[in-house]
Structure formats: structure tokens, C-alpha cells
């Protein structure tokens, strides 16, 4: 009996552990060492430089530039995305069935979530295209031609243009998350509130939001990590340009490694990204902690 148990445990765990160790754990572990070297890809030339890369990082204006953009997105993305998602979720659960057309809207709004980020990026690149693009075309058609821009080519609009696409894609995901949360709130709470003469506004702030708080907290952490890890959409749409106006830390790291072969330095950027992610998650969790309401 005892031996039969281990004859199952070992072969069942071993393949997963092996793959995971070779392709995930080992690279992660190695990166902490590589970050302390000036490695440029040729194994003989791996010189230990201690915290040198991190000192360099502190004085690197391009790193700060990228980090600043992550910071802006870290504020803008959660506020706008979760605001819209909450609004939609509330509208689609109104009175049990939601507003007229709720099901249709819900299916449409979630759709961008299943599209590949690459495709979303390429598609919107063309929507923003100065001459053949949908957006400028629309502005011309409705007589607002003066508002036309080279949206992604102008460093005043590029970051906002990319952020809008991220929001466009993400809203549906959080909407579904919140809908599920709201649907698990017992109807009786709302019925009682109606009898007490509460309006929609009060019910949202006094019932829906407090009871949805666990979902909001999870959403904040998810979207926060997303804002720090942002890479694909920027790589596809702007490659960090113009003039680094849309550069973010992950993209800066990628080009430092794979365009400039500064593997040691790039990995140090990766390590700092890890610590930022962990700090952010812990902070979000601590700051949004509420007395948990059981229902």
C-alpha cells in the first residue's frame, strides 16, 4: 500500500517538476546572479560587478523615463478601466436582468478580451494611422478635421492613445468579474433597501460596492501587475516611440537584452521589476484591506 502510493506520486509529479525546474525555476534563479554581472552574451566574458548594474540603473534617464510611464499607467488604467467595468456590471445586473439589451452589450464588450494582444495592437495601429486610419477618417467625416493627429507619431498623444487601447481590451474582463460578484449578493438586501426608500446611488455605495470589495481588490492587484508588465501592446504599436514617449520598463529591458546584448544590465532591470511588482501587490493588498463582510 505504502509503496504503491509512492509509485504513483513520483511519476505523477516528476515530469511537471522537471519541465518547470528547467524552463522556469532555473532561469529565475539564474537571473539573480546574471543581474550582478556585466554579461554581454559570450560566456567567457561574465564579470562579476556586484550591485554595479543597479547603481547604473539609478542614474539611467531612460530607465526613469520608462518607469514614469509605468507610473502614469498605474494610475490611469485602474481608475478608468475599473470605473467603466463597475458601471457596466451594475447596469447589466439592474433589476435582475439588467438594462434593455444587456446580454448583447455584455457579449460585445467582453469580445476584445479574447483577441490576441498582438492583433489588437496591429488593428489599432491602423485605426490611429494618420492617412488611412479610421479615427482621422471619422473626424474628417463629422467636420472635426482640425482635431486630426498622427496619434502614435506625436509624443503628446502617443501614450494616451496606447493606454486607450489597453482599456478598450481590458474593460470586458473586469466587467464579467464584477457581474459574477454582484450576482452573488442576495436580492433581499436590495429589496429591503427599496422598502427603506434607498435610490440607486445609495444602494451602489452602501450595498453593491462593500459586498463586491473582494473582487475589486483582486481586480486592483491584477490590473496593477498588468500596468507594470505592459509589453506586447507597446512593442507592437510603437516600440516605445516616438522619442521614447511610450517606453515602459519591460520594453526597455527587452531591447536592452535582445537589441543591445547587454544581458547583465537587462536582467538587473528585470530584478527591479520583480521587486516593484511584489511591493505593489503587497501595498495594494494592505491599503485596500477592509473588514470582510460575510454574507
Amino acid at each position: 500500500m505504502y509503496h504503491q502510493k509512492y509509485r504513483l506520486i513520483i511519476p505523477f509529479l516528476f515530469p511537471a517538476l522537471l519541465l518547470y525546474a528547467v524552463f522556469v525555476l532555473y532561469p529565475y534563479a539564474q537571473s539573480f546572479y546574471v543581474a550582478l554581472t556585466d554579461w554581454k552574451g559570450v560566456s567567457a566574458n561574465k564579470r562579476f560587478v556586484g550591485l554595479g548594474n543597479f547603481t547604473k540603473l539609478f542614474g539611467d534617464p531612460q530607465f526613469w523615463n520608462a518607469l514614469r510611464h509605468n507610473g502614469i499607467l498605474l494610475v490611469a488604467l485602474p481608475v478608468i478601466t475599473l470605473g467603466l467595468a463597475l458601471l457596466f456590471a451594475v447596469l447589466f445586473t439592474q433589476g435582475g436582468k439588467g438594462v434593455i439589451g444587456a446580454n448583447f452589450y455584455r457579449v460585445v464588450f467582453f469580445f476584445p478580451q479574447v483577441m490576441a494582444v498582438t492583433i489588437v495592437g496591429i488593428l489599432w495601429q491602423f485605426v490611429y494611422h494618420p492617412t488611412l486610419g479610421l479615427l482621422n477618417g471619422a473626424l474628417r467625416n463629422i467636420g472635426l478635421g482640425s482635431l486630426q493627429r498622427t496619434w502614435l507619431g506625436d509624443d503628446r498623444t502617443a501614450l494616451a492613445a496606447v493606454a486607450a487601447v489597453v482599456i478598450w481590451q481590458a474593460v470586458g474582463f473586469y466587467m464579467v468579474l464584477f457581474i459574477a460578484g454582484i450576482q452573488s449578493i442576495p436580492t433581499t438586501f436590495y429589496e429591503a433597501a427599496v422598502i427603506d426608500g434607498a435610490n440607486r446611488w445609495t444602494m451602489f455605495w452602501k450595498i453593491t460596492l462593500p459586498l463586491l470589495w473582494d473582487n475589486v481588490q483582486v481586480a486592483l492587484i491584477y490590473i496593477g501587475i498588468g500596468a507594470l508588465d505592459l509589453f506586447t501592446i507597446i512593442q507592437v504599436m510603437t516600440e516605445g516611440g516616438p522619442n521614447r514617449a511610450t517606453d515602459v520598463v519591460a520594453r526597455y529591458m527587452y531591447s536592452t537584452a535582445f537589441s543591445y546584448a547587454q544581458f547583465g544590465y537587462a536582467t538587473a532591470i528585470g530584478v527591479s521589476l520583480l521587486f516593484m511588482t511584489l511591493t505593489l501587490s503587497a501595498l495594494t493588498f494592505a491599503l485596500t484591506r477592509r473588514e470582510r463582510i460575510e454574507f
Binding site: Q4, S31, V34, F111, L123, L132, A219
Partner: protein, 305 residues
Amino acid sequence: MSLNPIEPAAPTEAIKTPAPKVRTGSHFTLGDWIFTGVSQVFLVIWALLVIMPLLWMMMTAFKTDLEIFASPWQLPAVPQFSNFVRAWTTASIGKYFVNSIIVVLGSLTLTLLLSSMAAYVLARYEFRGRQLIRYLFMIGLMFPIFLALVPLFFVVRDLHLLSTFHGLILVYTAYSLPFSIFFLTSFFATLPSEVAEAALVDGASHYAIFFRVMLPMARPGLISIGIFNFLGQWNQFILPLVIVPDPERYVLSQGLAFLAIQQGYQNDWSALFAGLTITMLPVIAVYVVFQRRLEQGLTAGALKG
């Protein structure tokens, strides 16, 4: 860190209380009308923002390059089906498509098999080191993938797996394991043990119990995690970008990004739009059919139990 999608076992389905019933009477007040009106206007605008770019993409796929530049809103005079042929052959979308299918079929199967075996053992057997192994897999959930990219490239290169299908399959699987195991462990933990115990008494081996009893019982969990991984792996961009330098082996998302740059040089925009449309159609089809399942699969990780 508490990303913990605790026990995502019985989400949404079980809790379908027909929620907030605000209006009991049938009378509509003025406030209701304003509320309905304003919200409908807002919803229609967002719906247009989602639908318009997609319709525009499909329409543009049928235009000539001249028409594309003439006006973004004009319909094509004659639908150019040849754009699609060019996209599939000359622009290599067909090749990328097949590459993606091979890789994702392989990695999805391997992910489901390995993660369900590991999760089963972690959920239902007591043994030394179990907690340690659980923590090890947690690391993969918390660490950003960017941290691993540089060493990963060299690991894959040293194993001579760069630009190979099996290399990509192994790497996709490895990076899908943490979440899949995490999800399925809590799923297996919630399954009743009576059936398994009865089978054990009847003399079934531990293997037979897993494959004949537990795996079929875990089907809903496997479907959720399967959908989640399918979309994640099909849309994966960063991993192939790093470990597939050979254009012959590009997967779809990577190939399209490459084309977007290339077609710009060659001024063959119509083929690119056709390519985007080809890539989108299967996704739209799957979405229309499995809409609810997809929602559940994608949000599975974040729902509270």
C-alpha cells in the same frame, strides 16, 4: 500575496440568484426614463467603439490598396478576394497558422496532462515535501516573465531547442503549469473521495483511480483550465519572440507583428488586413458558440469561491 483565486471550483453557476430587483411596480418614473436614456446612449457608444474597428478591418480586407488610401470609410467597389489568397500564401499567414496549431495542440495536451497529474497528487496525497513543491509552483505565479527571459533564451539555446516546435511546446507548457496546477489542486481537493475509496476497496490501482474515476469527475475544471490555456498559448507573443528567431517557425501572433512591419515596406496593406481578418474569424466563431464558457474559463482564476 493574495491573488488567491480561492477554490474556483463552483463559481458563477452555483450562485445565480436573480439579483437586485429594484423595481417591483410596473410604473416607470421620470428618473427611470432619464437613467435608461443616458445609460443606453453610453452603452451604444462603447458598443460602437468595440464593433467599428472590427467591421472596418473586415471591410478594408476587401479593398484595393488604392481604395484603402483614398478613404478609410468608403466601401470597396469590387470585393478583392485575392487579398486573402495573397495573405495566406505570399504573406505566409497560412504557414504561421499551421505552426500555431501544431504548437498549441502539443502544449495544450501536455499542459492538461502534466498539470492534472501533479495537481491530483498535490491535492489528495500526504507526503514529505508536498508543501515545498506547492510553494515552488507559487513562484511561477508571482514572478514576472521578464525576469526569466534572458536566462531562458540561453537555456533553450544550449538545449538546441531554439526555433523548434518541441522546444516551444515544452516552454509553453512549463509556463502554463503554475496556474494550471494551482487551479486544479483546489479543484481536486473539492471532489468527494467516496467514489475513489470504493474503487480502492474493489481492488483498483492508484493509476486506475486517477484515469478512470478522478479525471472524468474533474472534467469541468479541465475544460475551464483548457480554455484559459488555449487562449493564453494561442495569443502568446513574448515567449516565441525570444526563443523563435527563425521566420520559418514563427507562430501566428509573432508572424502578424512581423508582417505589420514588412507590409509597411512593401505597401501591401490589403493583404495585411486580409491576414488580420483570417486570424480573427476562428476566434469570432469560437466566441459566438462558447461565449459563456470562455467568460468562465478566462475569469476562472480571479473569481472567489
